[in-house]
Symmetry: C3
Subunit: 272 residues, 3 copies
C-alpha cells in the first residue's frame, strides 16, 4: 500500500534527519526551514556562489527554487545542481513563475537541462516548461485551468527530460512519464498562505534524501503536506492560524491519521 510506504519514508526522515540544502526565494526561506524542521529534516539555506558547491557535498538533497531569482543566484543554482548530479546528490527544481517573463523562462529551462530528479510546479509552470521542451510541436497553452491538460504536459516533460514531474493544484499529479499517481489531499485555504507550493517542493526534497525512487518521494512529500494542510485548515479561522497549525500538525502527524487520510490513487497511463 502506498500509505505504508509514505509512512515508512516519513519515519526515515524523522530518524535520519537528512541535511537539505535549499537555494530558495527570499519570501519563503523562513517557512521552508520551519516546514523541514517540523518533519524532522535539517534545513540549510545557503546561496553564495562561493560555497554552494562545497555545501552540496555535505548534503543529502538539494532544493532549487527560482522565486526571487537574480543573476548571481541563477549562477549559484546552476553550480549547485551540476555538483549535485556529479556526486549523486538528488535535487529538485521548483520553476516558480516559469513563462511569466523571458528571463525566468530561460532560467527555468537551463536548470531543467541539468536533470533534476523531480520538477514540481503548478499547471501553468509545468505547461510552459513542457512547451519549451516539445521542440516545435507547438501545442498552445490554452487551458491553464484544466488539470488533464496539465497532466498531459507533465507526462511529456517527464519523458523528454527523463525525470519525475509533480504538478500541483486542486488535485496533485505525479508522473515519471509512465506511472501516474493523483494525490487528492489538501484544502482550498492553503492557497491563501504564501509559499506552500515551495514548501511542497522542499518536502519532496526531504523525501528524496531517504527514498531512492524519486516518483515515490514526490508522492510522499505531496501527500504528507496535503494531509497536514487539511487537518490544519479544519481547525483554523483563516490563513494566519492555518500556517501555525500546519507546522504543529507536521510535527505530530502519526501513523493512524496519515493512513486514514491518505488519498493517493494510481492512474493508468494516459499519455496522449
Amino acid at each position: 500500500m502506498i500509505a505504508d510506504i509514505i509512512w515508512d519514508s516519513l519515519q526515515l526522515v524523522r530518524a535520519s534527519q537528512p541535511l537539505i540544502h535549499n537555494i530558495t526565494n527570499f519570501v519563503v526561506m523562513n517557512n521552508t526551514a520551519n516546514v523541514l524542521l517540523s518533519i524532522g529534516a535539517s534545513p540549510v539555506m545557503i546561496h553564495s556562489i562561493d560555497e554552494v558547491e562545497d555545501f552540496v557535498g555535505i548534503s543529502q538533497a538539494l532544493v532549487v527554487n527560482i522565486g526571487t531569482l537574480y543573476s548571481e543566484q541563477v549562477a549559484a543554482c546552476k553550480l549547485a545542481a551540476i555538483r549535485a548530479v556529479s556526486i549523486n546528490v538528488p535535487w529538485i527544481l521548483d520553476p516558480v513563475g516559469a513563462g511569466s517573463t523571458p528571463y525566468r523562462m530561460a532560467a527555468a529551462i537551463s536548470l531543467a537541462r541539468i536533470k533534476p530528479k523531480v520538477i514540481r510546479g503548478n499547471g501553468s509552470e509545468i505547461m510552459n516548461l513542457a512547451e519549451q521542451h516539445s521542440s516545435g510541436h507547438g501545442k498552445g497553452v490554452d487551458s491553464l485551468h484544466s488539470s488533464s491538460v496539465a497532466l498531459d504536459a507533465a507526462q511529456h516533460l517527464a519523458s523528454s527530460i527523463g525525470t519525475t514531474v509533480a504538478v500541483t493544484g486542486e488535485v496533485d499529479y505525479v508522473t515519471d512519464g509512465c506511472r501516474v499517481t493523483a494525490v487528492e489531499n489538501g484544502h482550498p485555504l492553503m492557497k491563501l498562505v504564501t509559499g506552500l507550493g515551495c514548501s511542497a517542493t522542499a518536502m519532496i526534497g526531504a523525501f528524496l534524501a531517504v527514498e531512492a525512487d524519486a516518483f515515490t518521494a514526490a508522492v510522499a512529500g505531496l501527500t504528507v503536506l496535503g494531509i497536514a494542510g487539511e487537518i490544519a485548515a479544519e481547525c483554523s479561522l483563516g490563513p494566519g492560524t492555518l500556517q501555525v497549525a500546519l507546522l504543529d500538525t507536521l510535527y505530530s502527524l502519526d501513523e493512524k491519521v496519515l493512513k486514514k487520510r491518505c488519498k493517493c490513487k494510481e492512474l493508468s497511463k494516459v499519455l496522449s
Copy 2:
C-alpha cells in the same frame, strides 16, 4: 459615505484578485505576501533588474519599498517605476527610513521624482522627504512627534509632487494637497509587529489596482488594515498572536464589522 466606498473597493479586490508586483524589503516579504493574499489580491515579489520591467507589464499595481535597499535593487525600483508610469500601472512608494542616511535619502528622493500615485510613510520619513522638496524654504524638522507638523509636511509634499501622501502614526492622515482625511483606526500593539507599515503600503497598492482615485485607495487601505489590526489586537495576548489574528481577520472581515468600526474623518483643508 466613505465606509460604503471602502467596502465596495474591498469587494472589488476580492472579486478581481489583482496581481500586485512588490519590490520590497527582505524583512517583510513573507508578511506582505500573506496580507495581500488575505484580502484577496495576488502578490508577486520580484526584484531582478532582468525582469521587473516585464513583470510590471502584467501587473495591476506596483509597490516599491526601500527597507533593505542596495544598489541593484534601487536600479530595479527605478526601472519598474518608470515602466509603470509609462504604461499607466499605478505605483506606490514606501520611503522606509528616508533621512536616516544620505544614501537612503537620495534613493527616496530619486524615486519620489518618478511620480508615484501614493507615498506612504511615518511622520519622520514624510517630513524628511518634504524638506527635500521644499527647495530651500528650509523649515526645520523639529517636531517629529507632532502629527499636525507631519500633516503639514504631507500636504506640502503632495502638492509639490502632485501625488497623494499617507502619513501613518497614532492617527493616519491621507492628503492629495487639497483633501485631507484622518483615519483613527488601529491599535498601539501593532507597532510591536515588524512591517505593518509596509503591509499598509502594500494594501494601498491593492486598492490602487481597483480604485481610480488614489486618495480613496489610500484611505481604504489604511482603514481596512487599521480595523483588522484593532480586532486582532483585542483578542491577542501579545505581538505573536496579533500577527496571526491579523491575517485571519483580514480574510474574514465582513461588511457589518467594517462599517461599524470605520473611523475616517474628512478634515477641512489646513494647508499652511
Copy 3:
C-alpha cells in the same frame, strides 16, 4: 543575585528602546525583528555597503550574523564592525555554520579579528573558530556533542581574542575566559523553530546596548530567551504555536516569573 541584574537590564531595554542595527541572514530577518520588538528594543535591518557605516553611527549596538553570507554582505559586515569598534558601539558576532565550508570559515575568522564584544554560536561553530585561533595546537574537533569540550573551546577562544563567548546547546555557557556561567533555561522544542539561535544573538545585542559588561549582557540575553522559550513550549502544540507564544511571552514577561525560573549558575574556572 544574577536574576536581579537580568531583570534590571530587561527593564532598561524596555525603557530606553535601544536602536539595534542588524546585518543578518535572510531566513530570520523577520523573526529577529519581532523578537527585538517584543523585548522593547528598536530593530533595524540594513545591509547595504553604501550605508551600514552611517547607520552604525546612530545605533546603540550592532548584530552581525553570517547565515546567508555573500561577498557584498561580508564586506558590509566588516565595514560596520570596524566602524562600531572605532566609535565604541558594542557589537556581537554570530558565526553561523563556521567550519562547514572554507568560505564561511574564512569570513567568520576575519570578522572575529575585528574584536566583537561577544561571539555566540553552537558547539561546533565555537570549536571550529577556537581551532583556528589556537595557532597550530591542533586539537581535533571530535566531540561535537560534548558540552564540556565546547566550553573548553569557548574559554580558549574568549582568552585568545579577548572577548566574551556564548556557546548554546542543551545547556548554554557564557565565558570571558575567566568567569563561566551556565544557563539551564530553554526547552528541546526550541530546536525545531528556525533561527532561535539567531534570536539569542540579537537579544544579547539588545542587552549590550544597555549593559556595560558584555559577559552579563550575554547571560541576560540567553536567560530571558530561555525562560520565554520554556514558558512558550509548555503551552504549545508544536513548533508553530511555540514561535507565536514566544513573542507573546517575551512581551509580557514579568519580574516574578523571570526570577522564579532563572537558572543561571556560576561555575568555577575550569580552563584546561
